[in-house]
């Protein structure tokens, strides 16, 4: 599609429109990806429990991608929103405030989003370093609150006695996780569609501009504050829904949902698949969860060591030119997302966060 006829102004206008709509169009690979995902409902029925976990990781990583990949904000405390959503869903179900899971999930998302909105103003300011401190500090603070408020949250024992009602009043959660998986995957798909639309909009484009060159962005009239608040709030709502899903599908939540490990693992999941694609987190979640499964069978303890080693290696080798089995995956993510088909050659990984 390179170099279309632009000799007349009508042809030029349609070439411009075509360039924009190419972003919005679904590529065949993208459709294959989702068909593949939904086919697991019938093809891998005995794997639904682990697949549900993967979906939840994918949603959390997708949420992180919205702020890291599209706004360049590094967060060490994304679990805060995940946990807020998890406990919201748990309390709603336990006290039968909102019995229907889909509605309760929406409320969890709202809770996560509201908390994200409130804390976004702290994250807007300052450098990467202050953002690290604030995100980490906020997550620790929430965890501490959940720990202290044992009368409400069950403290260190976790929130028990959650009895889930059927989804939409029709589909009961079963022991094999079939309902849970179909439910989670559908939620992921819907939220993915929403995110895809948002990052492809003028708003999404302006976020990329802010991330790419904040100085120039403001020089063409793009105000940063409310855009960053907006995407941070949306990402927090997504994380809240992911947390809500975890609670609803396991009928349990604990302080683990707020832990630093969860924040760090979410970062890892996203990095595996690559940032700024939307698909990165989804692919990363599959790799992460199966690697976790495999490693914990091989060496039951010290999973953390391998995660650490992996993080160190990923950086030393270089995220953008990581060898072996990651390059094809990353290219896949790139191709699936259909991100600018006219771009020459494989896309160079943009530099997230750090100053040039």
């Amino acid at each position: 599609m390179r170099g279309p006829d632009v000799s007349t102004s009508a042809a030029l206008a349609s070439a411009i429109s075509a360039q924009f709509s190419a972003r919005a169009r679904w590529s065949p690979l993208e459709m294959v990806f989702w068909l593949g995902a939904f086919s697991t409902i019938w093809l891998l029925p005995e794997q639904h429990l682990i697949l549900t976990e993967i979906v939840i990781w994918a949603l959390l990583a997708l949420s992180l991608d919205l702020i890291l990949g599209y706004a360049g904000i590094i967060s060490l405390g994304h679990a805060a929103f995940f946990g807020v959503g998890a406990y919201t869903a748990g309390l709603l179900a336990k006290h039968a405030l909102v019995g229907e899971p889909v509605l309760a999930l929406l409320v969890s998302g709202l809770a996560g989003g509201a908390f994200g909105f409130a804390t976004s103003f702290l994250v807007l300011r300052g450098t990467d370093l202050t953002r690290l401190m604030v995100t980490l500090g906020v997550a620790l603070l929430v965890r501490e609150i959940a720990n202290r408020a044992a009368w409400l949250t069950g403290g260190a024992d976790g929130l028990q006695g959650i009895d889930m009602q059927p989804v939409l009043g029709l589909f009961r959660f079963d022991l094999y996780g079939h309902t849970a998986y179909i439910y989670s995957l559908t939620v992921l798909f819907v939220l993915f569609l929403l995110a895809r639309r948002v990052v492809g909009s003028p708003f999404g484009l302006s976020l990329l501009a802010i991330k790419g060159n904040p100085l120039r962005a403001s020089a063409v009239g793009i105000g940063q504050t409310w855009r960053l608040v907006g995407i941070y709030t949306l990402a927090a709502a997504y994380a809240g829904i992911a947390g809500g899903l975890l609670t609803q599908t396991t009928a349990f939540t604990s302080l683990e949902s707020l832990s630093f490990d969860r924040s760090a693992d979410a970062l890892l999941v996203l990095i595996i698949g690559g940032t700024g694609h939307l698909y990165g987190g989804l692919i990363g979640a599959v790799v992460f969860r199966f690697a976790q499964d495999w490693i914990s069978t091989a060496t039951p303890q010290y999973w953390q060591f391998w995660i650490g080693l992996f993080l160190v290696l990923i950086v030393l080798v270089g995220r953008d030119r990581i060898g072996g089995w990651f390059a094809p995956l990353r290219r896949l993510a790139d191709r699936i997302s259909g991100w600018r088909p006219w771009r020459p050659g494989p896309a160079a990984a943009p530099d997230e966060g750090g100053r040039p």
Partner: protein, 286 residues
Amino acid sequence: MVTILFDGIAYGMLLFVLAAGLSVTLGLMNFVNLAHGAFAMAGGYAALVVVNRLGVPFALGLVCAFLFSAALGALLERTLYVHVYAKSHLDQVLFTIGLVFMSVAIVDYTMGSSQQFIAIPPSLQGQVTVFGLGMSKYRLMIIVICGILTLLLQLGLTRTRFGSRLRAAVDDQRVARGLGINVGAVFAFTFALGSGLAGLGGALGAEILGLDPIFPLKYMIYFLIVVTVGGTSSITGPFLASLLLGIGDVAGKYYVPQFGAFVIYTIMIVVLIWRPQGLFVRKGAR
């Protein structure tokens, strides 16, 4: 009241010795080293091994802690960190979190997961009365040692040739290179020194902060607060920030025990709203 102030100062000075290296690393290379606490933990365990198992005197154990962490710091700096300086902050964060996780798992595997204490000689236990006030001997020792170290650091930075080179490099690396300063070597040495101090702090603080494998995670936020609140343009900023944090934390845990842990987060948020660039940052500095 005075006791709380005293404990808070001891705690704060300890934090300063622990975090001083990190603030220089940040100022010098703009490098976010979240694994700084791992060096402190390494020092703590080094002292634990030589004092508790080999029966080395406590003071010598502290020296061992310093040397062990400094050597570890120098080794890792030359072999691993040096490849990550030029990378983005995201890469630095991932890399150093990776190191933290590895250190946690390694220590857990070799030393066990429970909290341990370094045997303190009887001469340092109990209280001593100064000006009619009962004070913990151990905390008094911390204040004395950390105070001396702070003075030495300050003198070293302002009075020695190395100090002026370091300050030049922190101010402007390119200019420093142009003046013939070997910034890489300055940095390696500083990194080792900072790691050594952290190790010493880890050994000294085992009694107060505890020593277990999740030490680097537990205190990561404290170190981050010290450097963001204190800034990186001098050591005075981090020093004052450490004292503020130490006194705030101790006082909070004493006066409002149910909200004790929240005090430091409140400090953090208030400072951030009030002075987003840090409390003690020079005007015009970055």
